[in-house]
Point group: D2
Chain length 486, copies 4
Amino acid sequence: MAEIDDIRDEGDAFHDECGVFGIFGKPDAAAVVALGLHALQHRGQEAAGIVSYDGHQFFTERHVGLIGDTFTKSSVMERLRGDRAIGHTRYSTTGDDGIRNVQPLFAELAGGGFAIAHNGNITNALTLQRTLQKRGAIFSSTSDTETILHLVATSEKQRLADKFIDGLKQLEGAYSFVGLSQKKMIGARDPLGIRPLVLGDLDGAFILASETCALDIIGARFVRDIRPGEVVVITAKGVESHFPFECPSPRFCIFEYVYFARPDSVLEGRNVYAARKRIGEELALEAPVEADLVIPVPDSGVPAAIGFSQGAKLPFELGIIRNHYVGRTFIQPTDSIRHMGVKLKHNANKALIEGKRIVLVDDSIVRGTTSQKIVQMMREAGAAEVHMRIASPPTISSCFYGVDTPETSKLLAHRMSVAEMADYIRVDSLAFLSMDGLYRAVGESARDDARPQFCDACFTGDYPTELTDLDATDNVRTLSLLANNG
Amino acid sequence: MAEIDDIRDEGDAFHDECGVFGIFGKPDAAAVVALGLHALQHRGQEAAGIVSYDGHQFFTERHVGLIGDTFTKSSVMERLRGDRAIGHTRYSTTGDDGIRNVQPLFAELAGGGFAIAHNGNITNALTLQRTLQKRGAIFSSTSDTETILHLVATSEKQRLADKFIDGLKQLEGAYSFVGLSQKKMIGARDPLGIRPLVLGDLDGAFILASETCALDIIGARFVRDIRPGEVVVITAKGVESHFPFECPSPRFCIFEYVYFARPDSVLEGRNVYAARKRIGEELALEAPVEADLVIPVPDSGVPAAIGFSQGAKLPFELGIIRNHYVGRTFIQPTDSIRHMGVKLKHNANKALIEGKRIVLVDDSIVRGTTSQKIVQMMREAGAAEVHMRIASPPTISSCFYGVDTPETSKLLAHRMSVAEMADYIRVDSLAFLSMDGLYRAVGESARDDARPQFCDACFTGDYPTELTDLDATDNVRTLSLLANNG
Amino acid sequence: MAEIDDIRDEGDAFHDECGVFGIFGKPDAAAVVALGLHALQHRGQEAAGIVSYDGHQFFTERHVGLIGDTFTKSSVMERLRGDRAIGHTRYSTTGDDGIRNVQPLFAELAGGGFAIAHNGNITNALTLQRTLQKRGAIFSSTSDTETILHLVATSEKQRLADKFIDGLKQLEGAYSFVGLSQKKMIGARDPLGIRPLVLGDLDGAFILASETCALDIIGARFVRDIRPGEVVVITAKGVESHFPFECPSPRFCIFEYVYFARPDSVLEGRNVYAARKRIGEELALEAPVEADLVIPVPDSGVPAAIGFSQGAKLPFELGIIRNHYVGRTFIQPTDSIRHMGVKLKHNANKALIEGKRIVLVDDSIVRGTTSQKIVQMMREAGAAEVHMRIASPPTISSCFYGVDTPETSKLLAHRMSVAEMADYIRVDSLAFLSMDGLYRAVGESARDDARPQFCDACFTGDYPTELTDLDATDNVRTLSLLANNG
Amino acid sequence: MAEIDDIRDEGDAFHDECGVFGIFGKPDAAAVVALGLHALQHRGQEAAGIVSYDGHQFFTERHVGLIGDTFTKSSVMERLRGDRAIGHTRYSTTGDDGIRNVQPLFAELAGGGFAIAHNGNITNALTLQRTLQKRGAIFSSTSDTETILHLVATSEKQRLADKFIDGLKQLEGAYSFVGLSQKKMIGARDPLGIRPLVLGDLDGAFILASETCALDIIGARFVRDIRPGEVVVITAKGVESHFPFECPSPRFCIFEYVYFARPDSVLEGRNVYAARKRIGEELALEAPVEADLVIPVPDSGVPAAIGFSQGAKLPFELGIIRNHYVGRTFIQPTDSIRHMGVKLKHNANKALIEGKRIVLVDDSIVRGTTSQKIVQMMREAGAAEVHMRIASPPTISSCFYGVDTPETSKLLAHRMSVAEMADYIRVDSLAFLSMDGLYRAVGESARDDARPQFCDACFTGDYPTELTDLDATDNVRTLSLLANNG
């Protein structure tokens, strides 16, 4: 979930989810969007943008930095006039032209302006881009999101919604789109529904958002999830729903429950916090341990640790104390104090831990470097035994659907067995949740291997869509570079 | 504890504690001090300063902002040469000349340079200042800390330590000082030991720090608490201890255990986290309640809530979810979305709360405005009953010992009975910990009203020192203004 | 010429010329470009950009601010790797997306990357843009320069130079382009040669620049002017020259000599300083006056005033003293001191002026507001008589070739006769240079009304090209908005 | 005069003059002070401060940067309430605590607040400081100006004016002070009147300022120069004048006429521009030369060059063209283009110079490095002969009266004869103005060696005051460090 406060090192975490939000028919729409994006920053907080329309003109603001620092200046917000607006918040951008990749992207098409924001990743974007360039298209970003703009611009359909659907039909991968034209707000989810998108209602104004927590912050009502493969067209008249694709069974990203989504969100009918607690309970059943205390790895491990504690009847305790005032960067200026690592952000609660057998609960292991440091910190604080329980199966494959995963070869679980990992991070015991345990925690009896109910490619390598660019280039980096639209 | 991440509004919290840190005899001393101050920022994070000495020259850097943003720039740290350094981190400063009040203060005295950093408040500083000005002294700050500098400068004693003690003898109030001259580091605690100060050791270099968590971050060993009324003089030869005062019984600030200190610190022999958990357990005994869930008010209520949950055998649950990416300020730009209040930082975990009887555990009530909002948030999320349990007695009096309390008249418990307060914040029941319960939680059998074991003036109005400036001016504001050195 | 130091108010001056510079085949090419742009900032200093290519990759940096503030940071310059680079410096940009309009513009075309920088204005850009959008083109700026990129991208020619020429053939207006592809640097001047472009040579590396002063700063040799209608293609092999257009007689902008170009530049064979001095001499002949002193209106009036002084045998004196430390903006904070106007930047040298008959020499009159203030300042300083001599004919028409002129209706000379203007600015006498006098000063015997030797549309309304967008929209503003690429 | 626009390198110029300004009895006094300081920035433009008083409270703002950037923000100016205010503008400050040395300095004395601003240098400040420190005084700056504050604070006189005079009597050196108490504005000039200070009047409000150009910018009337050794006390009742010292003959700084003061100022009855022109005329008489053109070294050499041109009947021409857009710093980022030196700011007007015999006129030679570069630039532009004429005698001694001169040993004229200097800077001929020629230019018949009419120590080494600190320490650096209050 969280980067700033999380104990993980930057290189030892999953990133690059994005958040989208739009509202249609509410005065001061951009201010509402800013709040919605603010609540979605756990999905990416490095840059954000808003496009609004006031009946005459589109207004665009895109900034690097936290919403609370950038989209609260009156100079910025006063420019974003109008009663409809969409926004996007994202993980990293680099270089001075990085701002080009901040969404929503906007284009003045022959039929009028069109803005679009995207969460996911198009797995044939590079292939499409090359085709479009051959026809004379000029790309102004390196974002895969721009592909859909060009497909809309060059579609021979008449109406915008048809042009948009025409474009979607050429896309592969995972996407939740929110678009804004002069008269419509459009939402779309890929046929498998990999990324979330929900519909809300604030005093009659319709909202599209990545998660329900963005509805809560503005006091909006949750209406329903947008369905896999659904395209909604929102106008003053209401919501019009289209299902232009043949939809296979849905494959919602199961990792949203494990780590990405905010605990207070409800996605596809499941409360994330409750799911994480059940994960912890399953883990206590599957991998019990004789111990004195259950300690969460802050902050994302807390719900699973509470579940584990309740399942195992062991006390839940704060064994790792967060230093609240970390600031954005603590660059160690001198050699003698480099490599302070996790200590800058967290400290062992030594008086609690000393002489105790502890169970650390974390949501996942990426490279394992943070786990090593935490375990060492616990040992230095005098823990008698350190057991680690992971609230998901081992992550063995990269994600190509909007998450910035380290290369497969750097994933610890790709390189080692569970026993080797236990050795590497120096714990007395290590256990991961089983695949079926995870499926049980989210309400299924087990994984249906013939027709899996979720996208779990990061745990299985079983990718539910074509990976055209990857096959074409045989180059994961290229795909990733293109994928940095969240 | 924490301002940034805390659910409290800025005006509805206690502030203005400061943190001090010094080290003597370690290469790159300033870098160590920066880390120590970083760990002490829960005591004040708005501005900080470091003074170092390299055997030839003193170097001073004072900046507004988080340590991690200011004292990590190589341009800053390279200037702070030397193997001894002291630092200070503090709450607010205002105005363009605010930097004048950032400590350590430094003066070139006739006998050489002297720097000083202070946590506490001198209750006769204004009176002393007027006397000194009549003799021609020029004050360059509005900080009460400067008083001690002038007393040292004008003392007729020969040796610096004697001049310093000479000055201390004229002071009333609460103080923990760390000072640095060309040859010595000096530490001092007021005769009642109201504010904490601990001695540590890092590979033979002695350290003075407000709390033990600042020793942990640098891997230093905790040696002992500096004793009430003790003056320590640290040189290359070691630690020399003086007790120049007649010391009455100690009166350590009991609120450090309730709220100020970091949970992982050990102060006066007690681990803060453990004390808070015991507070929660006492509270569960004193004020039990039929309920489904125990929910902490984040973040400072968490340890007491865990204690309450364990004491009451009720499940501990995260009912309030923090928005991790708050940024420093979220200024609502338009009228229509003002007064979002706590929602910007936190959200109710509705799926968990709906239909449940909940116990909210918080550490204290200041003005009550935040409590009102949290209770309302719980009710909107569908809580069947909302009970509130406060992990301290009612706060009825201002602090004049280094904490920026709202005026007494604005403290909710000063104006209302417990029943009225319950009504005001709209809970089904409200209970505070009893005074004896609090004393039990920190290891005493009860409060000894004849010779109280702690300073508990904020709960009792029983101030253990003279309040000369207050009596002279009958003006709390004057005292507070002067008091802003933390 | 100069905005920052010039006595003119911002609204009472001509702006919006741009400067272009490129070098091919020199290590650290971008650093050379930065210096070249630095010398061209009198043509526009509000924003600048550089694109370089290192044999593998293009690098782009575009920043708002002075070259000396932005393109001197090592963090910026280290990114601009390669031995070939082009740059652009421009007048104003507005809005947060203003950076989109900072040049060079860059596009990844099917055949590889292509960057372009432009000085001038395309008078049919809007019309072309609409046509291109209908075919599905997406514009990412509001700059007319982007038009040529799309024309190149959609050209059906094979080679880049041919595509570029194909695009140029569709353009109307004034342009000096510098472009960079993976293998070539391309330069082009419109068929009338309205804007300048020169070829230079630095140790064998070829340079294209708006003016020769940009060659001087880097110690480069001036080779020749690029010819009207010429397209040069520069590769490792040398300079290849094309003349794809039927070229009518050249019409170089005569106002470059009057005001825009830097005095030390040599354009089309004429030294600008010498031309301005001859203008002053012609003016002394045409409009002599009995007076004691000749005073230049700083800074652009100085060369003409020296010429006038020498021609009229009257002493040249500094009657207006510049305040050197103006800073970028002096916003008067209170009503009581608003409207200080020219006094913030300049002051009358009262001791010199008192009781004297003075001749003020300025290059042109735009709205007349600055002239009014200067005359008033001279009278307040005690001048016995104030005569004004203008080193050009009255400016009566807007420029559509890359200069941001106030609307025609706001030009003083469009609204008033010379006698009325004299009255308006309150001088004892006023005279403008005659058209033939101006032509004589630049070496012609007189203006050839049948085939004028220069573009002098601002003085005559005789526009040498089509003004398609203007005719289509009948809307000067639209044209100007589109024209903001300098 | 000017640093930013001047052709000189930073290390090859005189610096460190300061400017002072105060006004008493004018609403919005601070805004008037800001304008006055703005006009005085040629005396020091790196930092500035203003202190105002509104009848109840003093307000202080001190900032690094140009007045036009710092004292024009409404946030700053709104804080500076009141109808009386004083200000100071100064050359460099260094270190993070540099702001401590920005004036006016302010102290809350026993009798009320007192602020002071200073132009000059106290030559026994260090000696006084040591005495004061022994008595317990704490200095909060390293500025010699603070000395007078402590002398006032410890004076046993009753009235502020008497305390101030009491303090002045202990000072040696050069000073022009402006002070502000609750009821009075005080001005003082040292007995020799080395630095300037003038009295002005704006609609009945009295003004003290370093030069008359600061009166002009606000439209104030010049009343008279403050006299050497005079102390003026300004209250609502008017100006009260005291002459507490025995005054020897005045010794006004003659270098103010050569370089420091602004050309439009009138000091001690002489217009600076006129004096400089006469200097040029004397120089033409004393050191004539066969040549084609007279070229000023911009900008400070211009008036003398005009005088030389008129005296020698040779044409005045702009042979060096300024690049107007230098920005504050142009840091050359790469080795290959370092050492561009003067070319970044100025360029030879080659077309004018080629084949000509030129006379360069400059005001002085400091280290000679800039002269070398200019001469080389002229030769590269093809000058047939280069003659240099300097509008002052050779500078051979450091200034201890408020000007930051390079150490004596680095002054070219201290190390070399005129012939050697001519050789060093590679000119065909070099001549300096004679001492008597300089005195003639400012209206004397010759220097009276028995009782010189001016301070000319920089040309003669004849210091008119004691140099106690210098004698005590034998250390010019110490004195200079202390001297950095301008």
